[in-house]
Symmetry: C2
Subunit: 656 residues, 2 copies
């Protein structure tokens, strides 16, 4: 593998890819295909403009229900001297849309005539009277839709390159077409490869990876205007991979190999690319996503040399998604003529300091919250394997190479994944993590509201409120002097801010231990045993404050606890540490133990509350949360989780 291919800047990689496409005549839109004109054509892109074959209307038609006449015949009608016209001779009944009868050039609306019945006994048929009386003349061509009023034959109705909308289809039919020539959608083969991969629906064993990247990429490809073709998982065998690629070359316009492109032992992708064509790029200086492979392969298919670009997409899902956004999306949009570029870019303030490798363009996904007029961007976990960072992302921002990090409060440019309108109705609750906030998120989603949570611990939440960076904060900070939760902390950290505290849940805190409690851990005193490894929560977390308070009461020194310095950031993180054997126990809530099927030793009941600035508490914005807190159905949802008491939920008091 040539060294010059390695970790080149993004724009160099892109340039190299496009130069190669140019060389093989693979730029521009794909050829055209003829499809029938029906509702399924909506969204397709016209390869050729639509020029009218017939006019619309294609004949002079009556614009009203009434009587067609020759305007000249009506000249003498006056209000005082009505004119009589014999139906069938000088006046002919027409419905709206009927063609204009011969020797007529105007229509008198039915409401402007006085019909005279066939004979005095018969009932009046307004459409077939014997005669009509009119009391005003009409001008030629009145109440007539003229031939070509809308579309004149031969005019351009819709230009080539337009993505068809529902009414465009109507206009195309109106001017006489029943088929259309649209740009062929490029076909993208997606080949997942790796011995460790198992299909969705299989039970994964340790070491197995559920293969969902190909589904995710397929959905991306379809959304950009391509046709995705997923291949079955190919084992780490160069011959099998080569076979799959050769098949794909003859059936697609682009090949994506997923996984196998790390520097790991199972890396055959680059070998296969080199054996079938040229390796153009191996590694791009973008984070996450380094081990991208770009090449072009040449295969003779049915006597014809086919040249197909191939991209080795890294295996971690976040890298995979980003690689496709960077390299696959532009290709598909170019080939399919898709001109949608509806990504809006806005400016937001960073909530945290971030660091960045100075050699890479660092793509950072963020959650966004609009607090008053400030748009806050909270950087999400940047691990390449953290797919929830994609799910939770409201936008993406780039820290360009050369910059080693950014401070909290700095302005960044964010490409939006959600509309600003959606962000406007997003409630951003920070502070301490509780499972009931997930239940609330679901409840609010059903009511078309959106709840975004960030878990920074109770104290972190109050600090965020003091800086105006969140709408509210979950808090369970025990005052060791008074035994009262939250108030003294709020007075200290939110001095001068008028704040409401809403009771949320009472919850039992206790020790999460292995199933069957093999080490018989029963009280806090057991934590200092030499055979007990503890998993702690981070400084500032309410559970940590509670632990330190109780340790003091029991006279236990934290330095005597093995693992006291191991900090987890959520209750479930603590539970995961225990179930994995990394720790023997940790302090947490019942729900977390139940979640991972651990045993639970109840120790204390604590108060978990929501701290909300008064102006937000009293706004329509927070209304749905208050409604939830007072809704018995919502209470019963929470009571399904073990260890929660909702009896005080919805009560509130003012602090400051």
């Amino acid at each position: 593998m040539s060294v010059y291919l390695k970790d080149i800047p993004l724009e160099v990689a892109t340039k190299r890819l496009f130069a190669s496409l140019e060389e093989y005549g693979l730029t521009g839109v794909k050829g055209l295909e003829t499809i029938p004109l029906n509702e399924l054509a909506s969204g397709r892109v016209l390869a050729e403009g639509i020029w009218a074959k017939i006019s619309s209307p294609h004949y002079h038609s009556s614009a009203m229900d009434g009587f067609a006449v020759l305007a000249n015949d009506t000249r003498d009608a006056l209000p005082s001297r009505p004119l009589k016209l014999v139906v069938g001779e000088k006046a002919i009944y027409v419905d709206t849309g009927d063609p204009l009868p011969k020797n007529t050039n105007a229509v008198i609306p039915i409401e402007n005539v006085e019909p005279i019945p066939q004979d005095e006994k018969s009932e009046l048929d307004v459409r077939h009277p014997r005669e009509i009386l009119i009391r005003a003349s009409v001008t030629p061509w009145s109440h007539i839709r003229l031939l070509g009023e809308d579309i004149v034959a031969t005019q351009l109705v819709i230009p080539a390159g337009q993505q068809l909308r529902p009414f465009d289809l109507g206009a195309i039919a109106a001017c006489g077409h029943s088929t259309i020539n649209v740009i062929r959608k490029p076909v993208v083969a997606i080949i997942p490869t790796g011995d460790e991969l198992v299909d969705i629906g299989e039970e994964p064993k340790a070491g197995d990876i559920i293969e969902y990247n190909s589904m995710m990429i397929a959905a991306q490809v379809n959304s950009w205007g391509g046709i995705a073709k997923r291949y079955p998982i190919v084992k780490d065998n160069p011959d099998c991979l080569r076979e799959a690629v050769i098949h794909a070359v003859s059936h697609s316009d682009l090949i994506l190999l997923n996984a196998g492109s790390s520097a790991g032992a199972d890396d055959y992708s680059s070998q296969v690319v080199e054996s079938l064509g040229q390796l153009l790029v191996h590694g791009v200086a973008v984070r996450p996503g380094h081990p991208v492979i770009i090449g072009i392969v040449h295969v003779n298919y049915k006597g014809q040399e086919r040249h197909v670009p191939i991209i080795g997409v890294p295996g971690y899902p976040v890298s995979a998604a980003l690689t496709c956004e960077l390299f696959v999306e532009p290709l598909i949009k170019m080939w399919s003529g898709n001109q949608n570029k509806n990504i809006e870019e806005i400016e937001a303030e960073l909530t945290h300091k971030v660091t960045s490798p100075s050699g890479d363009d660092d793509m950072m996904r963020v959650a966004l919250g609009k607090i008053g007029n400030r748009l806050m961007a909270a950087p999400l976990n940047r691990g390449a394997g953290v797919i929830t960072s994609l799910v939770r992302a409201d936008g993406i921002s780039m820290i360009p190479r050369g910059i080693q990090g950014m401070e909290a409060g700095e302005k960044i440019r964010v490409q939006l994944y959600r509309s600003l309108a959606e962000l406007d109705k997003t409630l951003f609750i920070t502070g301490s993590h509780d499972l009931t906030l997930d239940v609330l998120a679901e409840y609010l989603a059903e009511k078309s509201h959106r709840l975004v949570t960030a878990n920074v611990g109770s104290l972190g939440g109050l600090l965020a409120l003091s800086k105006g960076e969140a709408h509210g904060s979950g808090s369970h900070l025990l005052d060791p002097d008074t035994g009262i939760y939250n108030d003294s902390y709020i007075r200290q950290y939110l001095a001068g801010h008028s704040v409401n505290v809403m009771s949320w849940v009472g919850r039992i805190q206790g020790l999460l231990v292995q199933k069957g409690n093999p080490k018989k851990i029963m009280t806090l005193k057991d934590l200092i045993r030499p055979d007990v490894e503890f998993a702690n929560r981070q400084r500032g977390a309410g559970t940590r404050v509670l632990l330190d308070y109780q340790l003091k009461l029991f006279g236990i020194l934290s330095t005597n606890i093995r693992g006291y310095q191991n900090e987890e950031y959520t209750h479930l993180g603590v539970a995961a540490a225990v179930i994995s054997g990394r720790a023997d126990c940790g302090l947490g809530i019942t729900a977390a133990a139940t979640a991972l099927d651990l045993d639970f030793v109840p120790l204390f009941t604590e108060t978990y509350e929501l701290v909300i600035p008064a102006e937000i508490f009293h706004s329509a914005f927070f209304e749905p949360v208050i409604q939830a807190a007072n809704n018995p159905e919502f209470h019963s949802r929470i009571q399904k989780l073990p260890g929660y008491d909702t009896s005080k939920m919805g009560e509130f008091r003012s602090v400051n």
Copy 2:
């Protein structure tokens, strides 16, 4: 038919519909359906939240290629005193993603070890050395992706109500699901009805209407999240219509009857609705769209009473599209859980005065052009039958009832159909109509630029430029004194504006006459013959100036010309007047005669030019037009139209 149903305000009609839906339990989202998790699930809306069944990662996995060790075993390693670990005993090779071997709790990346081969002769296999040397200790859990790092089992991963994006699918798979419960898409039956309707692809005779509304509505329904079912055309026969409705009731959630809802003779829709259920609304005070029918029908199907709302959609395409936007879109979005409301609203200036019926909410479609920082809204033809007004619309604006009109320059609120970004690259050329501008529009569209034209005549174009309401203007204004085109008019109407005039085409003007020229019209002198009816162009049009100039030269009085006062606004309008027999001849260009297969009597050659303010002419914005004018391939496209000379195209001069 009860009078109280007639022409009620929009909000009353909507309220009545929803009250009835409420009564029959038809509000809220439709039930759920279980679908397999694959790329086709993208875009579906979750009926139930996704709670993690397994954690992700579901085991501790190595984050790097390297050697798994027990951190404690590495304590004594120092740069100056490397530590030796025997592979297979104290160090175990792992690839990225491999599960952590028993009794290890850290991974040392392969680049941080010095491997020692199995024996001195054999080549080094970096993955299977005999021993490794390390020069630094590692901390527990370093380079390991912990179980649950991304998703912890039982947590909420995606809330109910979310419309799934590609990476949401990945997250759902990652947490152990292989099927999902999504909201069932509502099925909408679309029944076109009318004796005059013919299918797309059939040759329409006079009086026939090509039935494309059902296709247009189906595409709308699909885009809003429903499933459209188009029924074959039903003849105007109440029994057939009743049969179709009864079938639809048992197979759909909403029935749309198209046409048959005017006050015309073929109106059976309301009778069928009344015979099967309740007629709730007959006529809404909205323009265009008055004759809307809303009802609910009740049919016993397989022993179960089904209640299905039914909407009679007016037959004119613009009314049909609007009715569906007003009544069908909200229903489908409610039922399908589609929360997309990405319609942006902006403020624009009216280019023309408009009048409006004071009793109606008047929905007016507009073309938008951004001239400098001003967004200009040009009202489009408001005829209910003018489908090109839908195609050309960049947005829609409402003139509320009670207001009888608005003046040019007034600010209106416009709901955008196109993004502002698209409008930013839209060139807005007004003035005189020429077919070559259609060719230019198509050429520019291929290059991802957009040309919008408005035909207001040459003088109207100069006036628009003087008010800064267009980027350029097509002009062929002959100065009767000098024989020079445009310059003197520009000096008069654009005094003080620095302007460039670019030669576009020379074109032959002559008389458009019936095929075979039955009346032997050969010169302008024939226009005063009593048997000759003339179709004129509107005052201010270049062709009109030319006519008046030539009439003066020939000493012909316009008052002696029959039809001199009949004004058409385009060349093709004149051609349509002649082919329809409404006139015997008109002055126009060759291309218009050819378009409608008329004969042409050439009389003069005139100059057609583009007038462009200097600052626009020299901007990147106008660049693509200059490129087109200098591109031989573009010239040859125009030369395919008869009667054009492109020899001077692209030459330009400054005026003022």
